[in-house]
């Protein structure tokens, strides 16, 4: 489902997205509205910045002692009656899920929101192995019907207009053509999912927080779909990245206050469900997944990216994300946080993402766990260049720039030549070969540079 997205880069995909300017405006306004709701919510907490710092420090502690906390969590979870699996990568994770389903002869599964399973491309894998998967989060269900990736980690179908969802439901769920009433469409999805919940024997959920102290985990949803799936099924599988650990239950008081205020401006998720042990006669599995995270943990400059609690605030505030759409990032996790996580997984494939930013720094400021996102984007650029994943022409032009700017004589000559070109041969610059000129005029060249003026007018 993602093959078209692998063939190109962010700038090209964003250019396609920008062919429909009205749609860009709509996308930008929609996400800005969510950023504004977040602003209202966080300004009601007078010690918001203290809360962010506290969360950041707790995660700092977790990342510094991750091995111990994971083992503590595993021990307590096993004691609670949960079956714990370890997966080194996406392939192992997917195989574990499949083996659990096969063991129980289950051919259909319901799944609530889990960005980790998107990262592992679990749906594709299970479909290939004859397992039918239905996503129960409404947004995920919509992108699943559309055979698309989520474009946002919290709002998977934020790129879709209600009319498009109406058309999709008309095709797949038999709603009347042309009906785009959100209330009606939601009710239709609810009825369809109700049947799914009642008939599926296996349910997969994500994990928002795994508590080392108790061996329990917390799943946050607004729709209650994780609970519906998990409680009605015989087998509950929960997939979590190794970084989801928090040391103690009391720390939830910090993270639950931050998560949804940052994400959507709500005080808390509608459902913050604690899972501790399986019901009688049922099975509960946890799959603890690495998939590149321990490599990232070893990268000192990028380690803090593992503090992420997947709130999506950096996407909502990012002026580039809002105007390029999540699919332009050709990765399961898009936006600023995706741009610092993805190069760890495949530096060549995602070499473009750290450059899809003006380094404005707004992402860093909204991040509830204070990840220095824009600083990491800058640092990834250096790493990517040093590893040779930029076009040779760019390297050549940078070397010329270095030579010119390191020598005052070369700089003054080039500057004068540049201004003369602009004055007497503007067509050399103002043409289709200069991307600047497509939507912007060049500055009018002044008669003299400041340096030249200074020489005449001072001393």
């Amino acid at each position: 489902m993602s093959e078209i997205q692998n063939t190109t880069n962010h700038a090209d995909l964003a250019e396609v997205f920008n062919n429909d300017e009205a749609r860009v405006d709509w996308h930008d306004e929609t996400l800005w509205w969510i950023r504004s709701k977040r602003d209202v919510a966080v300004n009601k907490i007078s010690n918001w910045e203290v809360l962010r710092e506290t969360a950041s420090q707790i995660k700092h502690n977790v990342l510094s002692n991750l091995n111990n906390y994971l083992q503590q969590f595993e021990g307590n979870a096993i004691a609670n009656g949960i079956i714990v699996h370890w997966a080194a990568d996406a392939t192992e994770h997917n195989q574990i899920v499949l083996s659990i389903l096969r063991k129980h002869s289950i051919g259909q599964m319901v799944k609530s929101k889990s960005m980790l399973t998107e990262e592992c491309h679990l749906n594709d894998f299970l479909e290939e192995n004859g397992i039918n998967v239905i996503d129960s989060d409404l947004g995920e269900r919509i992108v699943q019907l559309a055979k698309e990736m989520p474009s946002h980690i919290v709002l998977p179908c934020i790129h879709k207009k209600k009319e498009e969802i109406g058309e999709l439901f008309h095709q797949h769920l038999g709603t009347p053509a042309g009906n785009a009433d959100p209330q009606f469409l939601t009710e239709t999805a609810r009825q369809h999912l109700r049947d799914t919940f009642l008939t599926r024997r296996a349910a997969l959920t994500g994990v928002n927080f795994a508590i080392a102290e108790t061996g329990e985990f917390v799943v946050c949803t607004n729709e209650g779909n994780a609970d519906m799936g998990a409680h009605l099924a015989d087998v509950h599988i929960a997939s979590m990245g190794i970084e989801k650990i928090i040391p103690e239950r009391k720390h939830l008081g910090v993270f639950l206050r931050l998560l949804t205020r940052s994400a959507t401006g709500q005080p808390i998720t509608t459902y913050s469900s604690h899972f501790k042990r399986p019901n009688k006669g049922k099975e509960m599995h946890i799959i603890i997944v690495d998939n590149g995270r321990s490599i990232q943990l070893g990268r000192e400059d990028f380690r803090n990216s593992l503090k992420c609690i997947r709130c999506g605030a950096c996407m909502n505030t990012c002026p580039v994300y809002r105007r390029s759409g999540g699919h332009s990032y050709h990765n399961a996790i898009s936006g600023p946080i995706g741009s610092i996580l993805a190069p760890n997984l495949d530096m060549e494939k995602y070499a473009d993402l750290p450059f899809a930013s003006t380094l404005c720094g707004s992402c860093t400021n909204v991040c509830p766990v204070k990840i220095d996102i824009h600083q990491q984007l800058y640092k990834w650029r250096q790493v990517i260049v040093k590893n040779g994943y930029v076009p040779a022409a760019k390297t050549a032009s940078m070397k010329i720039m270095d030579w010119t700017l390191s020598s005052p004589t070369a700089y003054h000559t080039a500057g004068k030549a540049g201004r003369l070109v602009l004055e007497y041969a503007p067509f050399m610059v103002n043409n289709k070969l200069n991307p600047w000129y497509k939507h912007r005029d060049m500055p009018e060249p002044p008669k003299e540079s400041f340096g030249e003026w200074y020489k005449k007018n001072r001393k």
Binding site: A11, P319, S362, T364, N365, D402, Y411, W436
Partner: protein, 244 residues
């Protein structure tokens, strides 16, 4: 107090008026200010493109030109931030640290070092203030809308000393203009759309002029205004503060 005037390369080449205004205002305020003529560029265009390892020449030149001064002042939040974060010297790390500690963006030098309380300027126009990201979020020249923290603005406090100026309200107070150095050509579509949207906010709210601490953002917005045939002009904040 001896001050070295650091004029970013594109200001030197394209916006000498902004540099002259900085020089004249500093002189008016009684500062002994000198422009070292062998300066070129801070190296930011290369560094932000991932080629920080090629900026050694720019660093050495900057240190050579400016180490002798008590303060170094530049009319660009972005270039000053780049130097403060990345200026280094392999053989003598201390010389780079000392220099970056006495390096100031123009408006913060006025508010924090000179502690300017009044200015003899008058500018009877409606003005939109563009918060350039690197000055604002990087150098903390003004409060950021993302944070739950008290309001302040160094450039704003200076503009409020200008007689008859009317600072307009913007719908999005501190959204990026989309310039972003090489981003403006590498990501042309998003960059120009960001610029258009930023300009539109100022136009919609009745700006006659758009000002800010960074000529690069203003150059970007000027390119869009000019293309649209707008009469609205951009001015570096120094040109307003230095006005009669």
């Amino acid at each position: 107090m001896k001050v070295g005037l650091f004029i970013p390369c594109y200001v030197d080449q394209f916006y000498p008026g902004a540099a002259i205004a900085c020089l004249q205002l500093l002189e008016k305020l009684g500062v002994d200010v000198v422009y070292p003529k062998n300066q070129t560029c801070c190296g930011q265009p290369m560094a932000n493109s991932g080629f920080e390892h090629l900026t050694g020449g720019c660093n050495d030149l900057f240190i050579k030109n400016f180490s002798e001064f008590d303060y170094v002042v530049g009319p660009s939040g972005s270039c000053v931030l780049h130097l403060k974060e990345h200026l280094h010297n392999h053989d003598n790390p201390e010389i780079a640290t000392t220099l970056s500690n006495k390096l100031y963006e123009f408006t913060s030098f006025l508010t924090d070092v000179l502690k300017v309380k009044s200015l003899p300027a008058r500018f009877p126009h409606k003005v939109g203030v563009h918060q350039s990201c690197h000055g604002q979020r990087g150098l903390h020249l003004s409060q950021m809308t993302e944070l739950v923290a008290p309001e302040f603005s160094k450039p704003g406090s200076l503009l409020n000393m200008v007689k008859d100026i009317e600072l307009i309200h913007l719908n999005r107070k501190d959204e990026c203009c989309g310039f972003g150095g090489t981003f403006c050509v590498a990501e042309e579509a998003v960059s120009s759309k960001m610029g258009k949207d930023r300009v539109e906010d100022h136009l919609h709210n009745g700006a006659e002029y758009i000002t800010g601490v960074d000529m690069s953002c203003l150059m970007h917005m000027e390119g869009i205004l000019h293309r649209q045939g707008s009469k609205v002009k951009v001015l570096h904040i120094a040109e307003i503060l230095n006005g009669e």
